[in-house]
């Protein structure tokens, strides 16, 4: 009692102690729980963004659709694109990165646990601010690319675009802190023996993505600020009457926007590179080539942005240069595809749900990649620009690619996160519904686009020959919705189920399967020493003279059960002073969430009145100083 009295006045907030319930999630600094927060939030945004897509498809199901007005349509396609890019695929990749990067490199935590929590809360703040625009007079309606001068105050009155600008600046802060955290974690916290060229490919791709974020986010932030000042403080960056240049916006946006494409796809490529070897029971074919191709994509991704601008009129020299670089970037991408195929070649394939999604990824992503190469041909692109052909292309890479890859990861790693397996039957139904629905929804868009149906147009007249394929596409979209419903049912069923997944159910290759599931707060009771790439596999198997796999008798399984006993002895709640192993983990903290609330209020201040911003600023400062004065762990 006396101790409590002497300690209490020292600080305004008592250090959170909750281990369960609402406040424990608000104050958590555990990378695994933050990963779960990212995943759940992004999945909810996925449902919202998907519903927006369904409304768009209902409007376009037949000629002269009456479901939506033109303005509502503009808001919905803007929010659909913005949501799926910034609030779904990026945070889903962050969810996997947060949860699995430390586990895959044999670390107990990320380098900056509180900054990690801050990144999540800032992302959530930005997303909520963006969506609150629906309540405050209408959502942004300028497209996810927000082309200026279309989006300057004179042509886009109201606050919709301001919500878009401020929301994206705020989520950008979250991406930046996450990127810095991942880079330092990956470089500094690897277990002994985990050299760079022994790291799992997912960790590599996450590292490349982090560097892309680090350099791409500030560029769009500048563009967003310039437009924000134009709209709110009378600057003239994009006022054509005074010589403001619309191409400046496009350059800044796409100089961010093209690396962004790789930010979205590389994590999925990493996940697939983990899944394929496990379900083929072969090592990844050409590991170093896959890694270097990923790095090459990361570098070359900076030299192709103007292929989004072929129709702008940059001139034949610029167009030819960017056409060449765009075709060239298909080479490392193609290399990866062949490496994945070679990984499965001659393998002992097991067509479990994660493997189906990984194979689906390869097929769909290849189609999207091929249609992408057709855009690189400038004269062809003149024809395709702003038609549904483009919509078909990027959905094949971002849905057929990224989303299929992320679902492969969800099914593959669910046993680690929950300690339970997702249902295989429902999983397979999910996969086939999604594959069929996806191709029905987006396959016909190739045809529609080449027939000339324009994007971002809320109605099309009868008699253009577009009716049939649009109807098919809408049926496809609802089939996808059905598949996502199946997945949701699968999650609830798994949550209710009492059946525990066996340790290492897929006979996997990497470190996250060597620890109990769900992992204790400190991940590894003892930090592993890594001796090889796919270290866990080599602990379990060796080869005989004919090169056949032989299970090491005293290997993996025994080792794992020994591990189980070891962990059973310990205080598995993972809290308290001793942590069972004398491992000291960072303490929870309210301040990252508090600082994010401050940033969100500053955001509203930036849209409405300075005094709202001042309140937010005070909260932000309180959060930052509280954070700075609080020791990492106590």
């Amino acid at each position: 009692m006396a101790v409590a009295l002497t300690r209490a006045p020292a600080r305004p907030f008592a250090r959170p102690k909750e281990e369960h319930g609402f406040w424990s999630w608000i104050s958590t600094v555990d990378h695994k729980r933050i990963g779960i927060l990212y995943g759940v939030t992004a999945f909810l945004f996925f449902i919202v963004g998907g519903s927006e897509a369904l409304m768009i498809r209902m409007q376009l199901a037949a000629p002269n659709g009456k479901v939506l007005t033109a303005d509502e349509y503009n808001q919905l396609f803007t929010m659909h694109g913005t949501t799926m890019v910034f609030l779904v695929i990026m945070p889903l990749a962050a969810a996997f990165g947060n949860y699995f990067v430390p586990l895959l490199i044999g670390a107990r935590d990320v380098a900056f646990p509180r900054l990690n929590a801050f990144g999540y809360w800032v992302f959530l703040s930005g997303g909520l601010l963006l969506y609150s625009s629906f309540l405050f007079g209408g959502a942004p309606n300028g497209g996810w690319f927000g082309y200026a001068p279309q989006t300057i105050g004179r042509f886009s009155p109201g606050h919709g675009i301001d919500f878009w600008l401020v929301g994206l600046i705020i989520t950008g802060i979250g991406s930046l802190t996450a990127a810095a955290n991942f880079i330092v974690t990956t470089l500094n916290l690897r277990a002994p023996g985990m050299t760079l060229m022994r790291m799992p490919v997912f960790v590599w791709m996450n590292l490349v993505v982090s560097f892309l974020l680090l350099f791409a986010i500030p560029i769009i932030t500048v563009a967003l600020f310039e437009l924000y000042f134009d709209r709110n403080f009378g600057s003239n960056f994009f006022n054509a009457n005074l010589g403001g240049d619309p191409v400046l916006w496009q350059h800044l946006f796409w100089l961010f926007g093209h690396p962004e494409v790789y930010i979205l796809i590389l994590p999925a490529m990493g996940i697939v590179s983990e899944v394929l070897p496990v379900f083929s029971r072969k090592p990844l074919f050409g590991y170093s080539v896959v890694v270097f191709s990923g790095i090459a994509i990361g570098f070359m991704g900076w030299g192709v942005w103007a292929h989004h601008m072929f129709a702008v009129g940059l001139g034949p020299v610029a167009n030819s240069a960017f056409a060449a670089s765009t075709m060239f970037i298909a080479v490392p991408t193609g290399v990866k595809i062949f490496n994945w195929l070679a990984t499965t070649w001659g393998g002992d394939l097991r067509l479990k749900t994660p493997m189906l999604f990984a194979l689906g990824f390869i097929g769909m992503f290849t189609i999207g990649g091929l249609s992408g190469v057709t855009h690189a041909v400038v004269p062809a692109d003149y024809q395709q620009t702003d038609t549904y052909y483009i919509v078909a292309h990027f959905h094949y890479v971002l849905f057929g690619g990224a989303i299929f890859g992320l679902f492969a990861g969800a099914y593959y790693w669910a046993p680690v996160v929950t300690g339970k397996m997702l249902d295989e039957t429902l999983g397979k139904i999910h996969f086939w519904l999604m594959l069929i629905g996806f191709n029905l929804a987006f396959g016909p868009m190739h045809i529609l686009g080449l027939q000339g149906q324009p994007r971002r147009t809320y109605q099309y007249p009868k008699g253009m020959g577009w009716d049939f394929w649009n109807a098919v596409s809408t049926i496809g979209a609802f089939t996808i919705a059905l598949s996502i419903l199946t997945f949701t049912i699968n999650i609830f069923k798994t949550m209710k189920s009492k059946e525990r997944a066996p340790q290492d159910p897929w006979d996997a290759r990497t470190l996250e399967w060597t620890i109990p599931t769900p992992p204790p707060e400190y991940n590894f009771a003892e930090i592993p020493v890594v001796h090889a790439r796919d270290d866990f596999w080599h602990r379990k198997y060796t080869e005989d003279e004919q090169g056949r796999l032989v299970r090491i008798p005293s290997g993996g399984s025994d080792e794992t059960s020994a591990l189980h006993e070891q962990h059973a002895d310990s205080d598995d709640s993972g809290h308290g002073d001793g942590h069972g192993h004398g491992i000291h983990m960072p303490s929870p903290s309210y301040f990252p969430a508090l600082a994010s609330v401050g940033i969100m209020i500053v955001g509203y201040g930036a849209i409405y009145h300075w005094w709202i911003g001042a309140i937010g600023g005070v909260i932000l400062l309180a959060g930052v100083f509280g954070w700075g004065n609080e020791p990492l762990s106590e």
């Binding site: 810095a180 350099f215 500030p218 500048v222 310039e226 009378g234 600057s235 003239n236 005074l242």
Partner: protein, 208 residues
């Protein structure tokens, strides 16, 4: 002498929070990452200005018409000197000399404040001469670029003052010299960016 005062070196083991494979402290590496990102931030702002620097309607002033190079040279020199005092602050805490640490931290913050004050004065003069945020695209890009730089200096000043305050309360022991070093990295970066802005934006001549 330094080694005599410095506490016994603690070598973090794998799994410890301060463990580092590269040997670079994680916080320092994180700061370098952030500064790398800032390069692109200022790079995009400077590029926007370079595109727009001479664009204004007939008879409307562009920034080059109102620059006072001798004045800005002096304020640039002031900022440059603050990097020197920053280095002295770091050297002081590494020696364990907390009194001089606070003197040099406050001196750095003072020089920074002098620079920001000079910026505010400059903007006031420019506005009176007819160059403001709205007058031309050249002016817009100039004010947004230098404004963001000024905000960065201001954040740096707050940071330095916080460190001085923490030190005054006796909570900045010599073994935490990394805190000063990281603040210094930021401060030098902001300083270097200004040298770039002063050269490219102010000094490189420009035709209307």
């Amino acid at each position: 002498m330094q080694t005599a005062i410095a506490p016994a070196p603690h070598t973090p083991a794998p799994g410890d929070h301060d463990y580092s494979v590269t040997g670079i402290d994680s916080r320092k590496l994180g700061m370098w990452g952030f500064l790398a990102s800032e390069c692109l931030f200022f790079g995009a702002l400077i590029s926007s200005h370079l595109l727009y620097r001479a664009r204004a309607p007939q008879g409307v002033k562009i920034p080059h018409d109102v620059y006072d190079i001798p004045y800005t040279s002096v304020s640039s020199f002031v900022l440059l000197m603050s990097s020197l005092t920053m280095v002295l602050a770091l050297a002081a805490i590494q020696r364990g000399d907390h009194h001089r640490l606070r003197i040099w931290l406050l001196a750095t913050a003072f020089l920074g404040t002098l620079f920001v004050g000079g910026q505010v004065y400059e903007v006031t003069v420019f506005t009176h001469e007819g160059l403001n945020l709205s007058s031309s695209v050249a002016a817009s890009s100039f004010f947004v670029l230098t404004g963001f730089h000024g905000v960065h200096v201001t954040v740096g000043i707050l940071w330095l003052l916080s460190l001085a305050g923490i030190s005054l309360r006796g909570k900045l022991p010599a073994e935490n010299h990394l805190w000063v070093e990281i603040a210094g990295l930021y401060w030098h970066f902001v300083d270097v960016v200004w040298i770039l802005i002063f050269t490219v934006v102010y000094l490189v001549p420009n035709k209307h």
